[in-house]
């Protein structure tokens, strides 16, 4: 058999296959390899005969085996690469990110008696000078968790509800429980009964619930409306009034309601505004700008909620939206460099978090839902913490505990016994 291959064709022959064997080989000129001249026997010719793509590779290898100086002929490295007897010394180094010059605004939640409030302590968010847990600059404050309390019994996933059955009719007791038993840094009181389509509780009545919660716990609080854009301004105005001077977080001002009233209430009674937009960085800029320029809200009184979507249900948008906002803020966008808050509880909307089993017969077994729910909430929150989120609104005690553990570990606040990983391969698990 005589089969000629131009070396210059090798490149195209290798198109679809692993080309590592030829890397570093410089082919110049119009050299040809003639298999016939290499004394190819019929068996080999058969082995080479069918696949043109493999042919060239085999050709090289076999020629080498036969002692034909293929590599020298190609002007390539010697067939046997140099064996080194000792490691090449080296130092690794990497620079810091120069663009991150603008710190995130620091915002204090809660006020103690010396500042006109009644909270025992305050919480500061923001102040970062790099992406979270990065080494480029200090992260002065850890992440914080505020746990949800509702002003009426609501539908909850079973795994969540079992923790609150004893307090479900008393927001004050509920608030005490999350602080005392579950380690909540803050409490969010959601005044959902004010929704005209639910109970249409009056703003004055709802404000009483806020007072009860403020008396029940001494941590800073978030005051949430029902999400009804017509009713929320009145509800939050009244709540802001009874919580005068406490530096509560008013949730929320948004572009689809009269945000100016909420801004005004915050200014008048010394609270912080939660600037809430739906997964749109430009809308977030616009609302922040309006709050500052049009409503005169001071920078130290703004926190953003760019919206949290659950793992598997749009978390990719929520994550990237937050990451872009944080990067823009660090790089000097003064309309976006505010601390962020996440409604992490939204994770429970994912069917994987609460459904008994998969509705799809084709899926592998989903296993017990009691374990799926909390981890869904954890991973949703954890992902956003890596994008720059500061404050997490959460529901499940285990989720709170684990999210605290990992965020504080990455923050640098957790010591541990040394663990030897040198021979993890042989570990008996």
């Amino acid at each position: 058999m005589t089969k000629k291959i131009k070396l210059s064709e090798l490149g195209s022959l290798f198109g679809g296959i692993d080309v590592q064997a030829l890397e570093g080989v410089k082919i110049e000129g119009d050299v040809e390899i003639d298999l016939g001249q290499l004394g190819m026997n019929p068996q080999m010719a058969y082995a080479l005969g069918h696949e043109t793509a493999q042919l060239a590779l085999h050709l090289m290898n076999i020629s080498r085996i036969l002692g034909y100086p293929v590599d020298q002929m190609l002007g390539a490295a010697p067939a046997k690469p140099a064996r080194l007897s000792k490691l090449i010394e080296s130092r690794f180094s990497v620079g810091k990110i120069e663009e991150w010059k603008t710190p995130i605004q620091e915002v204090v939640l809660g006020a103690t008696s010396s500042d006109g409030g009644t909270r025992k302590s305050t919480i500061t968010l923001g102040g970062e000078t790099a992406l979270p847990y990065y080494f480029d600059g200090p992260m002065p404050h850890r992440n914080h968790i505020t746990m949800d309390v509702f002003d009426m019994p609501i539908n909850m996933a079973k795994a969540v509800k079992s923790n609150y059955e004893d307090v479900i009719n008393s927001p004050a007791e509920w608030a005490k429980k999350v602080v005392r038993d579950f380690g909540a840094d803050m409490v969010t009181i959601h005044l959902i009964s004010t929704d005209p389509n639910i109970k249409d509780t009056s703003p004055a009545e709802a404000a009483k619930t806020v007072e009860e919660v403020l008396q029940a716990v001494d941590v800073p609080i978030v005051i949430g409306g029902s999400g009804n854009p017509e009713k929320d301004p009145a509800v939050l105005e009244k709540a802001a009034e009874v919580a005068e001077g406490e530096r509560c977080l008013l949730a929320s001002a948004s572009l689809n309601l009269d945000y100016a009233r909420i801004a005004e209430a915050a200014k008048k009674h010394n609270h912080v505004v939660l600037s809430w937009t739906q997964l749109e960085i430009n809308a977030q800029k616009e609302l922040n700008r309006k709050l500052m320029k049009q409503c005169g809200v001071a920078r130290e009184n703004i926190i953003m909620d760019p919206t949290t979507a659950a793992l598997g249900y749009g978390l990719d948008y929520a994550y990237t939206n937050m990451e872009r906002i944080r990067l823009a803020g660090l790089s000097g966008d003064m309309e976006l460099n505010f601390p962020m808050s996440s409604g992490t509880t939204n994770a429970w909307g994912a069917r994987e978090a609460w459904m008994v089993s998969s509705p799809l017969k084709e899926d592998s077994d989903w296993g017990p839902r009691e374990y799926r729910g909390p981890i869904w909430e954890i991973i949703t929150g954890l992902t956003l913490s890596l994008a720059g989120n500061d404050l997490f609104m959460m529901m499940h005690p285990t989720a709170v505990q684990v999210l605290k553990e990992i965020t504080q570990t990455l923050y640098g606040g957790k010591e541990s016994e040394p663990v030897n990983i040198d021979n993890w391969v042989a570990a008996v698990i």
Partner: protein
Amino acid sequence: MKLNSPLQVYKYLPQINCAECGDATCMAFAAHLIDRSKKLDDCPPILKDEYKKKYTELQTLLAPEIREITIGTGEHARRIGGDDVLYRHQLTFFDPTAFAYDVWDTMPEAELVERINKITNFRKFYVGKFLRVDMVAVRCVSGDALKFAGAVKKASETTKLPLILCSFDPAALKAALEVVKDKNPLIYAATEKNWGEVAELALNYKVPVVLFSPDLDKLKSLALTFREMGIKDLVLDPGTYPQGKKLKETFERFIMLRRAGIKEGQKDIAYPIMAVPLNAWLVYKDAVTASYWETVLSSVFTVRYGDIMILHSLEPYAMLPEVHIRDTIYTDPRTPVKVAPGVNEVGSPTKDSPVIVTTNFALTYYTVESDLSSNKINCYLAAVDTDGIGVEAAVAGGQLTAAKIKDTFQKANFDFKDKTSHGTLILPGLAARLQGDVEDVTGLRVMIGPPDSGRIPGWMEKNWPPKPK
């Protein structure tokens, strides 16, 4: 890659607009090379002699910053690395993190087979596809090379998934490689101590190899040394400490390595990075706690630059979030997430079949569609154009309205009198507040379905066919 505009790429192309690549012009093809939706070898003319030099140059310029490495063979072969950006919105991340779950050579054979089958068969339906896991990592726990090779042999007979051979003992790795030398396994690992012998194996068997050292100076040293010896398919394991300050440092090492590779173009360490969330089991013995922490570590390093990882827990509550967070991070932010608006048939609907409304957000639509088809519910499913927004948000934001719903059926020429015997439309439970409006605007009878489409089968049993008015 070193080029960032189609014009720069165009200079290297034949510029003859032959359209053999499927694009009408070389400029259009250049744009596809930039966004990496096509490969240079899709251009037949440039493979010819006369363009050899330009082909070679362009190939180098187009190569991703992080080296792309293939593990395994055939249809289950998996590429890792290949990234060009630090943040997904800057382009997209390529080659999703490969998940390898472990088995070990001291397991009884039946358990090993069962475990591998579980790994191989795991699947979770999501947006028109199944999420799966990728590899099996075989750990040498016995310290016995022959026993290890036996386990590797059994593993390779049981699954077509790529294998990672894990041992710090070169003799054990060699014995295992003999068994699977044609399967392109990844070998784990070369260290400061054994590197010479492991390098020899990587050269002789032509397999990709992991370098392990939590000391980045040493890790770079190893990478340089292997590269110098002609071994390019490297994976870096900077050590995954499961707890405390050491975990924080681990996180920082991942950031440093990837930043050096992509932002600073340090080719010497621009290789895929391996994480070992399995190390959670070194500190937690309780299965739930360990699985939870392992999932947490896995998520951290899926978000921040892990290209391949070794995991242990096969609990669904660990695997489900793991595959979902990977999909979250690696979903291409450039692809539209909408389906075409219209009225589609699911199964073979008749006049008595229900007509169900949802939005054109791809996730919502595919979820509803798969819930219906999986449960063999024949029906019409209308995708209303909500700009790709889900039901709840679209109702709140005014993208899902009675007028839009009416419009959808009109544009599809769907006449309820013609197509149905019941003149009834089913709204999603989360759009219940539109019921009155839709009744007024369409004149149809409107029923409210469940808030989650997974509950449609149960809902149908109770509510369908609708009782006569």
